[in-house]
């Protein structure tokens, strides 16, 4: 009864999938952060600041009527 292989497979799959997911989050985070920095520098270039849309997401209401 040597079931060590099964035990090993189960634990490696757990850590493999979670590891892949962490890498997925990490790369995505890095890419998005780069994009934010790029957009922010572009915004600073375009002086003077006008018509900020910064309230757009926050007071959004779900549903229509």
């Amino acid at each position: 009864m040597d079931h060590l292989g099964y035990l090993f497979a189960a634990y490696s799959i757990i850590f493999l999938l979670i590891g892949l997911y962490v890498i997925f989050i990490g790369t995505r985070q890095a890419r998005l952060e780069r994009e934010v920095r790029r957009l922010e520098s572009e915004l600073r270039k375009n002086e003077p600041p006008l018509a900020p849309a910064d309230n757009v997401e926050e007071i959004k209401t779900p549903g229509g009527v």
Partner: protein, 235 residues
């Protein structure tokens, strides 16, 4: 990712996970009947627990989004669904790997397996809906509704599947945790693993919500830029 909460959660995850692994592979005694594969259980059950936790958060955050309308609830709901899917997959895979040596089959339509599989399908349909949709306000409401309906359905799913499989083969009984945990050390190991997985879940959730928030911020920045270009062009 570089804020103190995130680092703290990552450290706590690592520490508790190392402790859990130590207990599973060194501390806990081997279960008499099933032998060494029974050790899968100490990570299998925590996976199931966080998968369920994920469902709860999907519905709760979805409800809060419909009620309060703030995008952060939608982001939380989406992140929880993704994590739920991840851990639900792990439950099915580790369950299968455990079943093979013990029952001789990879899959059986046992009530727990069936229920988990249906929950996996629910997560799948939620994520497919989000993948298919354009990134508008509408999809957040649709996903919230699907998430809420899905969670309300879970008790009925569990009952129906249980009734569907009223007669359990005897071997299935040993699979149920309670029967295998005669030793206090086994209980302790399970509890530590549960804690480790819960902390890891919170950490992953935190990181995923952070990336989704960044996406929202990018949309906002792009909108501001688009407005400026318009104003400029009109000057």
């Amino acid at each position: 990712m570089k804020n103190p909460i995130s680092i703290g959660l990552a450290a706590a995850t690592c520490l508790s996970m190392v402790a859990a692994l130590f207990m599973v592979f060194v501390y806990v005694p081997t279960e008499a009947e099933q032998g060494i594969v029974q050790r899968i259980f100490y990570f299998h059950l925590p996976c199931a627990w966080v998968a369920f936790l994920g469902f709860g958060i999907v519905a709760l955050a979805g409800g809060l989004y419909l009620w309060l309308g703030h995008k952060v609830w939608d982001d939380l709901s989406y992140a929880a669904a993704e994590l739920g899917m991840l851990f639900c997959t792990l439950v099915l895979v580790t369950g299968s790997i455990w079943a093979k040596p013990i029952w001789g089959v990879w899959w059986t339509w046992d009530s727990r397996l069936t229920t988990t599989f249906i929950l996996w399908l629910l997560y799948g349909s939620y994520l497919l809906l989000r993948a298919f949709a354009d990134d508008t306000d509408g999809i957040a409401r649709f996903a919230a509704v699907l998430g809420i309906v899905g969670v309300l359905d879970i008790p009925i799913i569990i009952i129906s599947v249980r009734l569907w499989r009223t007669i359990h083969p005897a071997v299935l009984l040993t699979r149920q945790g309670e029967h295998g945990l005669q030793d206090l050390r086994m209980v302790a190991t399970l509890l530590v693993s549960l804690a480790a997985f819960t902390i890891m879940f919170v950490w992953l959730l935190w990181m995923r919500v952070a990336t989704l928030r960044l996406r929202t911020r990018i949309v906002r920045l792009r909108r501001t830029l688009a407005l400026r270009e318009l104003a400029e062009a009109h000057r």
